[in-house]
């Protein structure tokens, strides 16, 4: 899997931003381990212990939301997004770099800003009320709503990074 080129000749803010997103990716990738463990434990907890399986499920739900929120940007950086490269592989590299930048700045940036704009009131209300899960009343449901804002924020930051990346790096 090819990593996205680093903005070596970018402004210091871009380098700092790049490292921040990298650090978030590196931390989030471990979440799949407790996620697997919790969802695996659901089975014996439900059928053998007859308790705590709903708690395990709710905790896994929070981990899942946080994990996939970071995963989209991680996929962008690792270039694993699914694309039909049927004809486009014949395009010159410079064109493809321009297309990538246009996709980031004209699509992903406004999209993520819109999601943040329309989703923040919902997430804020949930945070202030420390909203719990509806069915089980277990705490932490507000984290799932915050995860949506995290998803959009990371997409926006990554779009900015692609947009700010110097032309030479984009051609790599």
């Amino acid at each position: 899997m090819s990593e996205s080129p680093r903005p070596d000749s970018s402004p210091a803010s871009a380098v700092w931003l790049d490292r921040l997103v990298d650090a978030i990716d590196a931390a989030a990738m471990w979440l799949v381990l407790p996620l697997s463990l919790l969802l695996f434990l659901q089975w014996p907890l439900r059928d053998l212990v007859h308790a705590y399986s709903r708690e395990a499920n709710d905790a896994a739900q929070i981990l899942f939301a946080l994990y996939v929120s970071v995963a989209i940007t991680a996929a962008t950086r690792a270039r694993t997004h699914l694309a039909a490269d049927v004809l486009a592989h014949r395009l010159p590299a410079a064109w493809r770099a321009h297309l990538e930048r246009a996709g980031a700045m004209l699509v992903l940036l406004p999209w993520s800003v819109y999601v943040i704009w329309t989703g923040t009131p919902m997430a804020w209300r949930a945070l202030v009320a420390l909203e719990a899960f509806g069915e089980t009343l277990n705490p932490g449901y507000y984290l799932i709503k915050l995860a949506l804002i995290l998803l959009a924020t990371l997409v926006a930051l990554q779009a900015l990074l692609v947009g700010l990346r110097p032309a030479a790096a984009r051609l790599n």
Partner: protein, 484 residues
């Protein structure tokens, strides 16, 4: 403007092929432009799009989608640990007497791993890297090897309980619910297990026929094939892995375990095995976790793109237009079924299975199920037509993806030879499709009544059914101060 959604789909497909940009970006791009035009023209209320965060939130809190990272995690463990290689080596040795050990081992590995990949694209990526070099090394011609990689990558579409089938099952359940709400028919709504059981026999026949084709095409080369004997530890590793994976997949298919729990159990078991066998170096663990995060993100991004796209498509009421068009089709249920399956086949030339499930299926299935009420049969036919379309040379999605992938890796592929190598597999799949079409019971017992319907109730006409579905598809009442 009701046809706007169809134009959106066409533009998205053209842009995907022409630009090579990720599908999720293009789905968002087309949806945003169409939404802006719709709002500017006064056709679509702007406030409708404030529902977007809630729709995205429903993805984040979906129990079913939790299976996604777990399946990917299992796939990454199998791929990065020397398990897939051990499985391939042992299967090749065990099947050496057939004269086509390597191709058959490749298909077997595809049957085992493809259900966990989640997409044809991810399958092509994995098997081009994992299988192609080994098949070529075993003396299989490049064109045949590429065809085997394409076939192996599409097996995940039909073999239960693949991610594709889990998500198709969920989409079919929603479509069936919509159709039953419209007709008030007293039949049970299909669920995941119906899908798994319905797909089981056709998938088995597909797998066996593909294995027979691979054997027929390669048996003459068997004499030159002398695979090295695997070590005893490799036999044990391969047998334990095979037992674990097939046991978990079987338990899900037969309804003993939920897909999410089985995938979690598989991941934990493989992780414990890797720790116990001292195979899990810190660097390898980090690589597995990075792969899992990146592939999960790629699949989840498609769901996000498809969610935005379908919100706009429904805002233009294209779903109702499609329902009316399908309702107005003459010629009886078979003609309607053939038309919809043909449309799905055409879409599958440019869309991967996930995009099909989240963009196309929700639009075409409810009206189809009004005319053809056996939802499990329709679902099994859908997955078979999807798999066949992916393999149709020269434009089939898997066929082209493999060709591009190998070209990138410096393996030139002569199109004519490649297409000729794919054709027998395609014919085998079409034969299964025809069988299921003619004998619907191959996919299960059909709709199960949940209560006896009144005997003198008149049979609704097609026009009645369309009207009923139209009422079902009416938008919910706007929230206070929401829409105009």
């Amino acid at each position: 403007m009701a046809t706007a959604g169809l134009w959106m789909l066409l533009v998205a497909a053209v842009l995907m092929v022409a630009t090579g940009l990720p599908a999720w970006i293009l789905l968002n791009a087309v949806a945003m432009v169409a939404a802006a035009i719709g709002v500017a023209a006064g056709v679509v209320p702007a406030a409708l799009f404030t529902a977007l965060p809630s729709r995205l939130l429903s993805l984040l809190e979906s129990d079913l989608l939790q299976a996604l990272p777990l399946y990917v995690f299992m796939g990454a463990l199998l791929n990065r640990l020397p398990l897939a290689q051990a499985l391939f080596g042992v299967a090749r040795r065990a099947l050496a007497r057939t004269g086509a050990g390597a191709p058959l081992a490749g298909l077997a590995l595809g049957g085992l791993l493809a259900p966990m990949n989640g997409s044809v694209g991810a399958g092509v990526s994995m098997f081009s890297h994992l299988l192609h070099p080994r098949l070529v090394q075993a003396g299989v011609p490049t064109a045949h090897s590429a065809a085997l990689v394409a076939v192996a990558s599409t097996l995940g579409v039909v073999i239960p309980p693949s991610l594709v089938l889990i998500l198709l099952g969920d989409a079919m359940m929603r479509a069936h619910t919509e159709a039953l709400n419209a007709t008030h028919a007293a039949v049970r709504i299909i669920n995941e297990q119906d899908m798994f059981r319905g797909a089981l026999l056709p998938a088995l026949v597909v797998a066996l026929l593909c294995a027979w084709v691979a054997w027929r095409m390669n048996r003459s080369r068997g004499a030159a094939e002398v695979p090295a004997a695997p070590r005893a530890s490799e036999w044990i590793t391969a047998a334990a892995t095979l037992l674990l994976i097939s046991g978990l997949l079987g338990a899900v298919t037969l309804g003993y375990l939920y897909a999410v729990e089985a995938a979690a159990a598989g991941g934990v078991a493989l992780l414990l095995y890797a720790l116990g066998a001292r195979l899990l170096t810190p660097a390898r663990l980090r690589a597995i976790l990075r792969d899992t995060l990146a592939v999960t993100g790629a699949l989840f991004a498609l769901l996000v793109g498809a969610t935005v796209f379908t919100l706009v498509l429904r805002a233009f009421e294209t779903d109702r237009w499609v329902a009316d068009a399908i309702g107005a089709l003459g010629g009886g249920p078979f003609t309607v079924l053939a038309t919809v399956l043909g449309t799905i086949a055409l879409c599958a030339f440019v869309l991967d299975a996930f995009e099909m499930i989240f963009v196309v299926i929700p639009v075409v299935m409810p009206p189809l199920l009004l005319r053809v009420p056996d939802a499990t049969w329709v679902a099994v036919l859908t997955m078979l037509i999807l798999q066949s379309s992916f393999l149709l040379p020269p434009f089939g999605y898997a066929v082209m993806m493999v060709r591009n992938r190998l070209a990138h890796a410096g393996h030139a592929l002569e199109l004519h030879a490649y297409a000729r190598a794919c054709m027998p597999f395609l014919l085998a799949q079409l034969a299964v499709l025809a069988l299921v079409l003619v004998f619907p019971r191959l996919s299960g017992p059909g709709p199960e009544p949940i209560a006896s319907a009144p005997a003198n109730q008149p049979t609704p006409s097609d026009a009645d059914l369309s009207e009923l579905l139209r009422r079902q598809l009416e938008a919910p009442a706007p929230a206070a101060g929401g829409q105009k």
